[in-house]
């Protein structure tokens, strides 16, 4: 039996609740309120482990002592953790901006193909919405909601030092798929302008820094092999009439039953399948004194639940690190090469499966390759009928290979005569080549001129060179550390595209299109840390963009932030309860120039294609069109203020981060109606309008339990935010609005609007009138302007697609060799327009189609009883709050000598709690129409480490 006291080494105070365990056993004890413990059955030669959350554990070889008192050192790792901040790094405790690092332990689990999915729900202020359930599908990533209207609202993504093209690369589902999720070490999210302004003109929507895994210095040779096999299946289908129900409907409503078929087909069931997938990762790594490497080969095959949909990746990631001359010269080479193969299924099948007559067979022999299609008396396909969904899938073949290489060479030289001074260069390129082809069988009902062929090729080339000087030193007399960085950057984007396709039965090649734009930048940053209490940081960037004329070309983007490490002040220094307290405040100006067009300030002439020529006499003359332009185009400018508080309780076992921001965007780059006659189009990209956004973000990290056998970490975050348009045109007319959000069901129909005073995703609807039983009265709307007519002047702004609040919750637990984790994600205050119901659920559509066929539709018909379409009724706007369990995972580590072996089982998209009765409440633009369903998945994972 051994007794003793466990104390804090810094203060000498006893630690209650600390643990002492005999290593490798369950024999252990905890300290009482005075830090005392008693542990029996201890034998000489045993190893005792003393631990407490937030402190470094200590191991002592027991040699028969009767008392053993231990002083534990505070574990500083949490606060000393290095965080990238763009052209440099800081530590968590010295960060003054709203910066969050999400490391691989915290990532979402599952057979994840796209890196962005690792991050969903993990960070306050960051909302990641996948565009659908296709394998490798891209996501809408919004940091603090996006500040622009027509310019890009996606964050700048920097991969191992190379800023990616914000427009993505052509021909792929998601440009981030070229980065193997397995190889990502961490994401750092720069949220506020004081943190992002160092990226100047591309920083208004936040910055995501992705760092991939590297070999570690002095690490032994290691082989890792990971394998995941996944099964995905559709959770639910759109609720349409079955064949029998459809027959009854037709007969009961007096429609002509002779147009019905005799089959019973569940079209949705026919187009979806149980999809399988496999992911292999083979990694070699080793570290020497001066050199380390990590090489990873990845093979991913993942089917989509829509038949014929497949994503395949073969990728090689290589990280080499070399350090020479006593670490004075360092090289870091990262290169990612991938073959990204997308087999695209014709997603038109999704909508057609909803509306295709369930009484018709899939096949009937004869024309159209044997598929059933609705025909005119002359045997041609009906012009306005749905197409056989199975035929759409089977008769279309499209695949595209994207060959991509992202390489960066980082060189760091610490001057021999002045080791505080570093010269850093980042030379990188991102080259992506696409080769895609699509064929549609000539006998398909969609074709009238024989086989359709389409070939699309091209490349995106992004080259970047940063040259940076960094000086770090201490002014001993002032007890101040300072860090000065200055740099220059040049980046060029070059995009070339070619298209050849069948038109009118002939293969035609379009002229090559080339787009080039470039950015040149100067930047600098100074940071001071005074007495380890007061932090001060200021940065400045000057960006020049080829997209603006000389006079407007350069933009200046300053930022400043301060931090006060209150917990290092005398009065808190010894507090055990409040172990960390830091107050932060920042201000910054950022820009946005991602408007899509490259020559918007120049008057450009575009030639027309021969299919768009005019007859002069007996010949056809090609045309030449002058394009609209605004020669005064300039930077969009966002000013952002941020105040934040970091608090750690009980030796940082419980950490809270709270941030509040206020953001104004001016000279908004928006594509808006131009005054008629003043320019050469109806819409013009120009600097007009303003938006205002604000929000509060709360992040909580807590270690509930931590001891040798049992660990439990919880991570929760909540975001409250709003975005509002404050000005939209030159005249400042408050009633001015621009319709947005195109819907299916008639051309030119929009269901949303931009209007000052409203969120940019606000719906624009008629207010439905209901009878005493709560049923909608067809065509009866509130006559808002009281003119006794219902015209579009009676449409009202109502609800919006973006949430007011969204939440993330992650739990990770481990007991001995078992681990268990799950992620929940929620959203409140978001609404969805159910376009599937509004466009398919009315009698006219089902019973009186324009031809010799019937169309199926949503069974919402039986609830609304609408005869004619009521597309703009707020009846179709539904509350779409949701709580989702994104993934739940259980794993076991088999204890073995030479090889480590871990097995895990994960379920993804486990459940969704929502009142929305469409397929999925999580729709990024709030318009639910023929959405590719997100499947539920089951993943078995095996990992071997040698």
């Amino acid at each position: 039996t051994v007794t003793g006291t466990i104390t804090e080494s810094a203060s000498g105070l006893p630690i209650p609740g600390a643990n002492v365990v005999v290593k490798g056993t369950t024999n252990g004890a905890s300290t009482d309120f005075d830090g005392n413990y008693t542990l029996s059955e201890v034998a000489t030669g045993d190893v005792l482990v003393f631990s407490y959350v937030g402190f470094e554990p200590q191991e002592i070889n027991f040699s028969g002592q009767s008392t053993l008192s231990i002083a534990l050192n505070e574990d500083a790792a949490l606060l000393d953790e290095v965080v990238l901040i763009g052209y440099g790094s800081t530590t968590k405790q010295d960060a003054t901006g709203a910066v969050q690092k999400v490391s691989s332990e915290e990532f979402n689990k599952g057979a994840i193909v796209s890196p962005d999915q690792l991050l969903a729900g993990k960070s306050a202020g960051v909302r990641i919405t996948s565009s659908g359930g296709a394998p490798g599908e891209g996501s809408e990533i919004r940091i603090r909601g996006g500040s622009s209207l027509s310019a890009n609202n996606s964050p700048l993504i920097v991969v191992d030092g190379i800023p990616l093209d914000q427009r993505g690369v052509q021909g792929v589902r998601n440009q981030l798929n070229s980065i193997n999720p397995n190889e990502i070490e961490d994401f750092v999210i720069l949220k506020d302008a004081s943190a992002t302004a160092i990226y100047g003109s591309r920083a208004s929507n936040g910055v995501v820094l992705i760092t991939t895994k590297k070999g570690k210095k002095g690490a032994p040779f290691k082989i890792e092999y990971g394998f995941q096999v996944s099964i995905d299946e559709a959770i639910d289908y759109v609720d349409v009439f079955t064949a029998d129900e459809f027959r009854t409907l037709i007969n009961e409503n007096g429609a002509d039953p002779s147009l019905l078929g005799n089959a019973t087909t569940d079209w949705q069931d026919e187009i979806y399948r149980t999809a399988v997938g496999g992911i292999h990762n083979l990694t070699f790594s080793q570290g020497f004194e001066n050199f380390s490497y990590r090489i990873n080969y990845n093979n991913t095959n993942k089917q989509g639940i829509l038949r014929k949909d497949l994503y395949r990746r073969n990728a090689l990631n290589v990280n080499l690190n070399a350090s020479l001359f006593d670490d004075h010269l360092k090289f870091a080479l990262t290169t990612k090469g991938s073959f990204d193969d997308n087999f695209y299924a014709d997603t038109g099948a999704i909508g057609n499966a909803i509306v295709f007559d369930p009484t018709q067979p899939i096949r009937q022999g004869g024309a159209f390759g044997g598929y059933f299609e609705f025909t005119q008396p002359n045997g041609n396909p009906e012009a306005l009928s749905p197409r056989n969904p199975v035929a759409l899938l089977e008769q279309n073949d499209e695949k595209a290979r994207n060959k991509r290489n992202i390489t960066n060479l980082n060189t760091e030289y610490r001057f021999h005569f002045l080791p505080e001074l570093k010269f850093i260069s980042n030379a990188g390129f991102d080259y992506s080549e696409i080769d895609g082809r699509e064929f549609v069988e000539g006998r398909s009902a969609t074709q009238q001129n024989g086989q359709f062929q389409k070939y699309y090729t091209g490349f995106n080339r992004n080259t970047n060179l940063d040259l940076i000087l960094n000086y770090k030193n201490t002014i001993a007399t002032a007890n101040t550390e300072y860090d000065v960085t200055a740099g220059h950057s040049y980046q060029e984007f070059y995009v070339l595209s070619d298209l050849t396709e069948t038109r009118n039965g002939m293969l035609e090649t379009d002229p090559t299109t080339i787009n080039r734009n470039s950015l040149e930048s100067y930047f600098g940053r100074v940071s001071f840390d005074i007495a380890d209490k007061y932090l001060l940081s200021a940065s400045y960037r000057r960006d020049g963009s080829s997209r603006f004329k000389k006079e407007n070309r350069w933009g200046n983007f300053p930022a400043a932030s301060i931090g006060w490490k209150i917990s290092n002040e005398e009065f808190l220094k010894d507090s055990n309860a409040v172990s960390n307290l830091k107050l932060r405040a920042g201000y910054g100006v950022t820009g946005n120039q991602e408007i899509g067009t490259n020559y918007g300030y120049l008057g450009i002439y575009s030639p027309g294609q021969s299919s768009a020529s005019v007859q002069f006499g007996d010949t056809f003359q090609n045309t030449l069109r002058p394009e609209e332009f605004d020669e005064n185009l300039k930077w969009e400018e966002t000013t952002q203020y941020n105040v934040g508080l970091d608090i750690g309780f009980v030796n940082n076992a419980f950490n809270v981060t709270l941030d509040g921001y206020y953001r104004e965007t001016e000279d908004l780059l928006a594509r808006i109606p131009t005054a008629a006659g003043s320019n050469l189009s109806d819409l013009l990209t120009t600097n007009v309008g303003e938006t205002l956004s604000r929000g509060v973000e709360l992040g909580i990290n807590t270690t509930v339990v931590s001891n040798d056998n049992f660990n439990w970490d919880l991570n929760a975050n909540a975001t409250l935010q709003e975005v509002e348009i404050t000005k939209l045109n030159l005249s400042g007319d408050p009633d001015f609005f621009i319709p947005q959000g195109g819907i299916a069901g008639g051309v030119g129909n929009n269901i949303q609007l931009w209007r000052p005073g409203f969120d940019p995703t606000t719906f624009f609807v008629f207010r439905q009138v209901y009878d005493s039983e709560g049923n909608p009265i067809e065509g009866a709307y509130v006559d808002v302007n009281g003119d006794n007519q219902i015209t579009e002047a009676d449409r009202q702004a109502y609800k919006k697609a973006t949430p007011d609040v969204y939440l993330g919750f992650t739990s990770n637990m481990s007991y001995k060799n078992f681990d268990f984790g799950f992620t929940l994600r929620g959203s409140l205050g978001n609404y969805v327009y159910n376009n599937v119901d509004s466009n398919t659920a009315f009698y006219e559509e089902l019973l009186s189609p324009p031809g010799n066929f019937y169309k199926n539709g949503s069974k919402n018909l039986l609830e609304s009883n609408f005869n004619d379409p009521q597309l703009f009724s707020d009846y179709y706007i539904s509350r779409a709050d949701f709580l989702k369990m994104d993934n739940m995972s259980i794993g076991y580590l088999f204890p073995m000598e030479e090889v480590q072996f871990r097995a895990s089982f994960t379920a993804t998209n486990v459940f969704t709690i929502t009142k929305y009765d469409g397929l999925d409440p999580e729709i990024s633009n709030g318009i639910d129409n023929n959405f590719y369903p997100r499947p539920r998945g089951f993943v078995l994972g095996l990992n071997f480490t040698y």
Binding site: Q376, P377, N378, N380, A383, L384, Q448, Y490, N504, T512, T513, I514, S518, S546, Y599, L602, G603, Y605, P607, S610, S611, A612, S613, V614, Q615, F616, F620, N622, T623, L624, R625, P626, F629, D630, N632, I672, P673, T674, A675, A676, G677, S678, L680, S681, D682, L683, N729, L730, S731, F736, G746, V747, G748, N749, T791, E844, S848, P850, G851, L871
Partner: protein
């Protein structure tokens, strides 16, 4: 690196500074101005559109102009749910109507194109580029045509919107706010432009097919003068007669072919071209859009109609007509008048449900087959059929109307002109009229019989005071039996969007 920020296009696009180094650019640019009427963008049938505020197919000049001039009247109505499309027939449109808006922006876009052409081809600029000789002569011809095309569009704009924003080649291209012009002032401007180019433009029948000539200028002047009282309050029927006579004397003749042949795929060569003064040519392979003739051939086909008969792959089940129009013909659908070409099989004459294609008789007019029934060059989507924007029959009827309205001329000649048209329609003289039959009421009906679905009806009804507060047809006023509407609807609203953007604009009365 700073010079690396000076980037200009490297593909087939060019800056305005460089594009005219190629002499072929002038012809291609004037072609774009003509294409402004028939096409919707730089790729056929869709892609790279001129306008983005509405679906590209709908944004086509001819399709919108047809919708404004026909769907608002007794001649046509449409089944579709597209936005506020049906409000055109209901006559309850507001300033927020996106079709009215896009028509307006399409007009002003067309004007802006013409202005840009004139800005880029001033004598000074041509001198600077050293343009002489034949090319110089050609460019001067193009300039006259650009001014004609601008006058044509300004006439459409004045007719529909009365007081639009006014821009000429004197204005810059940019983000400025154009001034509004009053209808009577715009009338004066259009008239002065047409008179100025009357002798500069290529002579009647001398220009290439598809391009405007002197007769097109005269016909437009005739239209301007015939409607002058609506636009300015002062009648100009004598001037209408003067210019109608000039056109009539220019060598055109009423084509002695069945009436239906005027609207077939080969109407640029089957004989009917003799009476075409100004056509908008379409072509199945080379002039493709989802507006224009593609719309006019597909949209009126539905129900049990056989698409093969129309030379297309299928109808769009949209456009029919009202019983009021059917009743313009003696004997209605069984009329001996060959212009009463209705499709009645499975269709009802009266309309119960507007969204149901089979409610209301269908009208057989534009088809993508030649006189022998063979389909055009694209037997699927896009017709070869040309749209006869100005044809001699219209000028005959304008002459007759100006005579009856007291503008001078000869009543006997007027009756002869009308009878020439009716003899073609009846195939004999059974339908002929006498001097006493030639009344204003008769002329309004006769114009509908002869020129229905050719974009004249709304203007005609307004000139005869029958469009809004007089005249009733099914679903006018958004009631099945029809009701009158308020007189302010004779003028379309200035779109709310442009009022919001351009603070110089004042809304038209009533809206």
């Amino acid at each position: 690196c700073e010079k690396d920020l000076e980037l200009t296009p490297e593909d087939d696009r060019d800056t305005s500074a460089d594009v005219f180094n190629d002499p072929a650019s002038y012809r291609a640019f004037i072609a774009k101005i003509y294409a402004g009427l028939s096409l919707s963008g730089q790729e056929g049938p869709a892609g790279n559109p001129d306008l983005e505020g509405l679906d590209e197919g709908f944004s086509n000049y001819m399709r919108l102009y047809w919708s404004m001039q026909e769907l608002t009247t007794d001649e046509a109505l449409i089944a579709w749910n597209d936005g506020t499309l049906r409000d055109l027939h209901y006559q309850n449109w507001t300033a927020g109507n996106e079709f009215i808006r896009t028509m307006y922006t399409r007009f002003l876009y067309q004007v802006a194109l013409c202005n840009e052409f004139l800005r880029q081809t001033t004598p000074d600029l041509l001198d600077g580029r050293g343009v002489t000789g034949e090319l110089r002569t050609q460019i001067e011809n193009y300039r006259a045509e650009a001014r004609f095309m601008r006058a044509l569009t300004y006439w459409h704009t004045m007719d529909l919107y009365a007081n639009p924003p006014f821009v000429t080649e004197e204005d810059p291209v940019g983000a400025f706010l154009p001034e509004q012009i009053q209808r009577a002032d715009l009338f004066t401007y259009i008239e002065s432009e047409l008179l100025a180019i009357e002798d500069e433009i290529i002579g009647a029948k001398q220009n290439e097919y598809g391009r405007a000539d002197q007769a097109a200028v005269w016909t437009l002047l005739t239209k301007l003068y015939l409607n002058a009282e609506v636009y300015t309050g002062s009648a100009r029927y004598n001037d209408a007669i003067t210019y109608a006579e000039r056109t009539i004397g220019a060598g055109y003749s009423i084509a002695q072919v069945p009436y239906g042949n005027l609207f077939l795929a080969d109407n640029d060569s089957n004989g009917s071209q003799q009476e075409t003064i100004f056509a908008i040519p379409f072509d199945g392979l080379n002039t493709q859009s989802f507006g224009g003739m593609t719309f006019m051939v597909h949209a009126p086909v539905g129900g049990s109609m056989d698409p093969d008969f129309f030379g297309i792959n299928g109808g769009w089940a949209g456009v029919r007509t009202t019983s009021t129009f059917v009743e313009q013909f003696e004997g209605e659908e069984n009329s001996a008048d060959g212009r009463a070409n209705f499709y009645t099989d499975g269709q009802t004459k009266e309309i119960d449900d507007i969204s149901d294609f089979t409610d209301g008789y269908a009208v057989i007019k534009y088809r993508n087959v030649d006189v022998d029934g063979n389909p055009g060059s694209d037997p699927g989507d896009h017709p070869d059929t040309d749209f006869p924007m100005f044809r001699l029959a219209d000028v005959y009827l304008m002459y007759a109307e100006a005579v009856v309205r007291g503008g001078g001329g000869s009543l006997g000649t007027a009756v002869d002109y009308v009878n020439e048209l009716r003899e073609r329609a009846y195939g004999n003289t059974d339908g002929n009229i006498t001097n006493s039959d030639l009344t204003l009421d008769f002329l309004l009906s006769e114009r509908s019989r002869e020129l229905h679905w050719e974009c004249h009806r709304r203007t005609d009804l307004i000139r005869f005071g029958q469009f809004s507060d007089q005249g009733i047809w099914p679903f006018k006023g958004n009631v099945p039996q029809g009701a009158t509407t308020e007189a302010f609807r004779d003028v379309m609203p200035i779109p709310a969007t442009d009022i919001g953007v351009n603070t110089n604009l004042e809304q038209n009365p009533g809206y």
